[in-house]
Symmetry: C2
Subunit: 242 residues, 2 copies
DNA sequence: GCAAAAGTGTTCAAAGTACACCCATGT
DNA sequence: ACATGGGTGTACTTTGAACACTTTTGC
């Protein structure tokens, strides 16, 4: 049985899933002083979407979110936070689903389980972009990073979901920084500052930021980092206890 | 057709609801310097529960929460906030459901829609207890206020849901105070302070609280309130623009 | 020495805390 | 008058923003 036969079988029948509920993951990745978002593009369409999935009948909600994240990035043990449930009655996108499936050579019966209203539970994650290995799902042909401030138009209400995730992230940045997998093992204060500036989309005062971030008491100073540049070498830091 | 026949019919068949999803409402009410919670007690059982409900197929999630609130309190246009989704696989309470139904003379078929895993979306509301007219639902015989710090053991994971709601409320108190319907039309600063102290479960310094709450810029001073007590009369306040 | 970036110090303002004092009210 | 609770003032501490100064590095 080829992989494609599996895929057709899966989508043409009603899988053993929690009906009418989906998960959407806003996966933030940081690199090159840019905050990026992981998006899928469905085969033979111009439809971009957040990585998402469904919940198996015997699967915790949070595990389902972790699974979606792992399937798309290969990463495990990642900090994931639930931020909102989107539940308007007009979350029903029969025609778009039909086109996505058509792009994969799959014909949907009128009573297909996707032909229904769905509520979607939003999760967000923050990762070190360089550690991820993005992988499209069966229906999409690309799974790539997009600059947060150059996001294409997304299917369904995914632009709204992304916006809400970003708001939540901005409010939670300080408290959640420890659990984040957004930075490499060791890093300079300047790198964290760039991260903050990118997430908040505003410039911060270097000297004050330094004190503020150190005062959180979550950083441990390691050795200096000789960059080869004609200036004072910054210290490297890591999160305490890691 | 008697009302009881309707009830039996409703619960013995699969109603047109979003399957496997429920709503639970943590309804906080303030009165007599006490923070209370609205709880149901199911007929002919010792089971206490948060007011809850299901989502009609053609109903927004937030409207469903508002409807549950109105059905139990008679109140409309109330501030409601979604705070968490509870989605563990063990949220499946066949035996308890069976007993609740049995208490109402209803026999559940083995494939009844409640005999399944449910995820539950938590909402919380804050109301002026004296404005509410609690009304049991069809399956319960009481719908009453319980002191927050004397909560009985609740069914399912409702104690956990309540705890999470309280944590969210404590963090959001300042920002959400305006939208709250937790106080009467007009009130004294002391009444708000009692509210804060009850919610936070700690004593606050009177003089400082006064300034802090006034500095929020959301209160408008009305006339004095002659209490008849042997002390200076406090001013009454109302929320600006109400 | 000089430019560039890192690290530290200084100053001022805002916000939060502790506590004292005065004011109004009914007995 | 005085006890009681409401309202305001004052002094101190903490937090945070603005900006100057010093240190380190490679050319």
């Amino acid at each position: 049985m080829t992989e494609n036969t599996d895929l057709k079988e899966y989508w043409e029948n009603k899988p053993r899933l929690l009906p009418n509920v989906s998960i959407d993951c806003v996966i933030f990745g940081f690199h090159d002083n840019q905050l990026k978002i992981l998006l899928l593009k469905y085969k033979n369409t111009e439809y971009y979407a957040l990585p998402g999935g469904f919940i198996n009948l015997e699967e915790d909600l949070s595990d389902a979110a972790l699974r979606v994240l792992e399937e798309r990035t290969g990463l495990r043990d990642i900090y994931l936070e639930q931020f909102h449930v989107f539940g308007k009655t007009d979350r029903r996108y029969d025609e778009t689903h039909r086109q996505i499936m058509a792009g994969n050579g799959i014909t949907m019966k009128p009573n297909h389980f996707l032909m229904n209203r769905f509520i979607s539970i939003g999760y967000y994650a923050l990762i070190d972009l360089s550690k991820a290995a993005p992988k499209p799902d069966g229906l999409s042909d690309t799974c790539d990073w997009y600059d947060l401030y150059k996001i294409p138009s997304l299917i369904f209400d995914h632009n709204e979901i992304l916006q809400k995730a970003l708001e939540t992230l901005r409010l939670a940045l300080d408290e959640k920084l420890v659990g984040f997998n957004l930075l490499p093992e060791t890093f300079t204060i300047n790198e964290i500052q760039k991260l903050y500036e990118t997430v908040l989309n505003e410039k911060l005062v270097r000297s004050n930021f330094q004190r503020k971030i150190l005062s959180l008491g979550i950083l441990e100073r390691i050795e200096k980092k000789m960059t080869g540049a004609a200036n004072k070498a910054p210290y490297l830091y890591k999160f305490i206890g890691e």
